[in-house]
Structure formats: C-alpha cells, structure tokens
Amino acid sequence: MILQMGWRNIWRNKRRTAVILTAVIIGVWSMIFLGALMRGFSDRMRQNGIATLTGHLQVHRAGFRNDPVIENRITSPAAVLDALEILPEGARWTPRIRVNAVAGNARHSAGITLVGIDPGREAAVSFIGDAVRQGRYLQQEDPLGIVVGEAFVRKFETRLGNKLVLMSQDANGEIASRAFRIVGIFDAELESTEKQFGFVHIAASRKMLGVGDDICEVAVLLPSHRQVEAAAESLRQRLPEDTYTVETWKDLLPIVRETLEIYDVFIFIWFLAVFIAMGFGLVNTILMAVFERIREFGLMRSLGMLPRLVVVEVLAESFFLLVLGMAAGNLIGLLSVWALSVNGIDLSAFSAGMEFAGMSRIIFPVLVARDIFTANATVFLMGLAVSLYPAVKAARINPVEAMARP
C-alpha cells in the first residue's frame, strides 16, 4: 500500500519527476560510460606495456636491469630454462638478447635497442609476431634479416631490402659491428616503439656479440594476469636470489602501474563528484515534494499513520526515482559502450601527446563489473541516505499545525 502511494505520488508532478529522472539518468550514464572509457585507457596501456617486450614476468641476471650491458647477461641459460618448468600450464616463454646498439646507414645513425629473438617463441609472447606489415617476419634461420619499425624506416629514409649496420659492444668490450638487411617492417601502437626496437634472430645477435649460447633475459607470458604473483614467487624460490632477479610487469613498468592505481582512485572520485551533484538535486526535489504536501502529511498523521511509515513512504518515492533513473542510465550507458566498442575512439589527433604514458591511438571502452556495481551501489545507497533528511522532516510534521494551514 505504502509503495503504491509512493509510486503514485511521484507521478503527481510529472515535470519535476522528469527533471530529476534526467539528472539521475545522466549521472548514472556518465559514471558507467566514462568509467568504461577510463578502464579502456588503462587496460590498453597495460596490454601495450606487456606486449611491448615486457611479458608478465622477466628473469635477468642480477644487475642487468640497472646496467643493461652485455657483461650482465645470463651465462648459464640452461639453469634458468630448467626452472621455468614450474610455470603453470599454458605459460609461454622466450629467451632474448637485448642490448643497446647504434644503427646506421649511409645518411643516418641512431641508437636503438637490438633485440635478438627466437622467432617462433617470441611470436607467442610479444606483439612482434603479428605486427609485421611489410615484408616478412624473421624465419627460423635468418642470419642477415632485421625487422624494424615503420617510423624508423621513415626516419632513416630507407626501405625493405636495404642494409643496416649495427654496432654494439661485444662480450670482450670491443666494438662489434654487423650488417643486416631489412626484411620486415612492423607497425606498433606507439611511434616510440617503432623507433626503438630492431629485431634480429637470436643466433645472429649472439654471433655478433660473441656470447655463445648466452641470453640477456627470459620473458614469460602467463595464461592469466592473476597468476603473475604466484608464478614470480615460485620462480624466485627456484633461482638463487643473488644471481637472478625475477620481476613482474608491475616492477618492470612502474609508470603503468602507478597510472593504473591513480585511475582506480580517480574513477571513485569521479563517481563521488557525480553523485554529489545528483544528490543535491534529489534532496531538493524530495524536500519540495514534502513541503508542498504538509497538509496532506498532517492529515495522514491525524488519521493515525505512524511517523515510521511516513518515512517509508517518502523513501519509497525516492526509491522509485532512483530505480527508474538507474535502470535507464545503465541501459543507455551499456548501449553507448556497446556502440563505441565496435570502432573505438580514435585519438590519433592527440596521440603524440598521449604516447608518453604508453596510451593507444584508439581507445576501446571496457566494462568492468565492479565499476558498474560500485556506480549503482553508490547512487542507490547514498540516494536513499540523503533522502532520509526530507523523509524525517515529513515524519516530524505536527498534525495540528499542519492542518491549521490554509
């Protein structure tokens, strides 16, 4: 009966209800939609970070991360590769040589990161496997081939099939140089990635640097990012701590990690800000509705309605407003996310400014159940909580005074 009264009451002033419903709808929609966008940003950033040669885990010789020179390579790779057996089912790993080198042709020279990869294994771990747009990816036997980025090729005014001379310090501290031919050109999300990396076969890089069968790092990709900490811990137990360091992507990409954490807080602050704006509107509406009907509440009280029930009646009005608004807001939010998830939002125009943090050129919104739940719970619970004020006010109406009003 009380619920029915509440439902009918909100439709007595249709315009006011429509206005406050719009406010709730826009509030909920913006929480869901912008939340999803921000998740899209941060997810993409994490995925980019992990795919750009980071993986979920990496194993290095202790000291390599502070001073990534060839002297700090892993000199007994067999021990490390054995330890990788304890990784969970479905985990993929790849060994790499990774050193700073100078690439040069007749007209240009620039520093790059020379990455020696096992073509088959690498493709399963990082982005390079399906990033080659022109030419071809490295083959199992590829002593001369190098794969470089599109932006690099533009900068160097070179093309497929041309020569590139790489120089780096070899294992004996001498200058090693070797000629490679550009066999493939890759595209990456970030232009900086395209300029930074040159991929050659691991055997070619080992020969150039004179390091036998040694490696610089092992990158591991796990089936799910929830397994990262456990896998890292078990690897740490297998590998002596003073010789090897095992790090997760959170250690390897501190900027991404920090940004993700900031985003978590930022989403919550956003929810709160939207709610505060919406909450004042709601309180105002209900308060107006209560003051308009002082005589009516006085009558109900005189007829013997308990103050408790008056509170419930007013809350019921607020409840219906909130539920209607949330339902419509969620629906519109989901629809707009769905509409954008096909093509994403193209930020290429601003991408130069975004790249610093490893953001993509195209953002796809990502829905996270927890965000939707938080948004709705915030609106619903806090909405009811702020409505308590007008409800209690209505319950405290003195029937005699109220009835005496004109």
């Binding site: 007749a106 007209r107 001369l144």
Partner: protein, 255 residues
C-alpha cells in the same frame, strides 16, 4: 722511387691487360686500390695539417699534428687554436680513444660515438677508424679509364661484400696511374652520392707527389665541406709503437 713507380706502372699495365683478356678484373682492381692506399699512407708518417671546417655562415680552422704507423696506428692532436690545444685522438686497429685536456680524461669511443662527426668536421670517427675497410670489405671492379693532364686515371667501383658491416652502398675511387687517389666517392644504397673526398694541388710533399689539399664535401648541401691542407708531411720508414699509446695521447707535447 722512380724505379718503383715505373715498376708499379708496369704491373698495372700487365694488370689492365689481364683484366681485358681474362675475367680477373676484381683482383687487378684490388691491387690498384691496395697500392693507392699504401701510397697515401706510406709506412709511417709525421705531418701537420690545417683543417678547415666550412659552413655557409661560419668557418673554423684548426691545426693538427698527426703520426701514423702502418694501417693500424695513428695519433692526432690539435695544436691550434689554443682553445682546443691538446685535444687528441688515438687509433689502434678499430679502437679509438679521445683525450680532452680540459677534463683530463681519456675516453674510449663507444659504438654510439663512432658514427659521429670527428671534431665537428665532415669526417666521422668511423671514417678514421675504418679507413682500411675499403680494401677488405669491398669487391673492386675497374669501370673506366680516362686521361687527365696527360696521366691515366682509373675509376674503380667498390661494392661492399654482402656481410661487410659498412654503411655505404658503393664507393667509387678515382686513382691516377701513379697511385694517387684523386677522388673517393661515397654512395648510399640507392646509388646516390652522399659525400666525396677530393685530392687537389698535387705537388712534391715528403719526398713524393701528393695532393696538398684534401676536401670532404657532402653531396646534397652546398657550401659545406671540410678541408685538410698539409702544411708539413714527412714519410718515415717506421715510428716506435710506443708512440701510439694512451699515455702519449695524454702528453702529446712530449714528442
């Protein structure tokens, strides 16, 4: 001297003959290039060179004292202007060190600096460190023969060997019949000229005919070049190896 030149010319003539008759052109061209490199380098040399770095809006001159021994060792240091005096470069094989008296430090050039300009000139460190690579890293082919001032000049096209770590797509050498290198052209892989070094004003220097002026000019920028002018040049039979050490790089004044 005269005899050896005649002998070399005779060798060349035989070489040319065999190139025409057989397909042994590569070997013959290589011999010529080797001879030219040996000619301009000598066994050992001491020289004083004025280097002029010319740009459209400024020009800089410095005087350099240089010692070379064979193809492996060389040592240069700046004697003038006083601001740069004492700056030195030592080359042993393909390794290079530089010394700056202001900070009193010897730096072994890392790979990243090898392709940078030497002392701000149009020569790169690599041009100095790898000056021998022209002999071993390339396949040579005689492509033309012309006559300049009554002397024969051979044009040799040198294509880098497939695995050779050289950045050029091709080098073209103009070598006079008496083994004087008149011009060395550097091409990129599209076979476009990148830069060229020219020898001019051939006269008697250090007991043999030698271009007094060497000029390195980039092809696509007008008015930018680096010029080396020999003020003194003396060829020697040998120099002590102990001269080409890091400690003499620090104290070039001793010599």
């Amino acid at each position: 001297m005269k005899l050896s030149r005649a002998f070399a010319a005779a060798m060349l003539a035989i070489g040319i003959f065999s190139w025409v008759c057989s397909a042994d052109e590569g070997k013959e061209a290589r011999t010529l290039v080797e001879a030219a490199v040996k000619y301009y380098r000598g066994d050992a040399s001491v020289s004083r060179v004025r280097m002029t770095i010319h740009r459209p809006d400024w020009e800089r001159e410095m005087t350099i004292k240089a010692w070379t021994l064979g193809k492996k060792y060389s040592l240069f240091y700046i004697t003038d202007p006083p601001k740069d005096e004492g700056n030195g470069t030592l080359k042993r094989g393909t390794d290079m060190w530089t010394y700056n008296p202001k900070v009193n430090r010897v730096i072994k050039l890392p790979p990243s600096m090898m392709s940078q300009a030497w002392m701000g000139s149009d020569f790169s460190n690599n041009d100095l460190a790898k000056s021998d690579s022209i002999i071993d890293d390339y396949d040579h082919r005689m492509v033309a023969e012309k006559s300049v001032d009554g002397k024969k000049v051979y044009v040799v096209e040198s294509m880098p060997k497939p695995m050779a770590p050289v950045i050029w797509g091709m080098q073209k050498l103009h070598i006079r019949e008496d083994h004087i290198m008149l011009r060395q052209e550097f091409y990129d892989e599209e076979m476009e000229l990148v830069k060229a070094m020219t020898g001019e004003q051939i006269e008697m220097l250090g007991g043999k005919k030698f271009p007094r002026i060497w000029r390195m000019q980039k092809a696509d920028v007008e008015g930018e070049y680096t010029q080396l002018e020999y003020l003194e040049l003396e060829f020697k039979e040998s120099l002590p190896q102990s001269l080409f050490t890091v400690s003499s790089l620090r104290n070039p004044g001793r010599m």
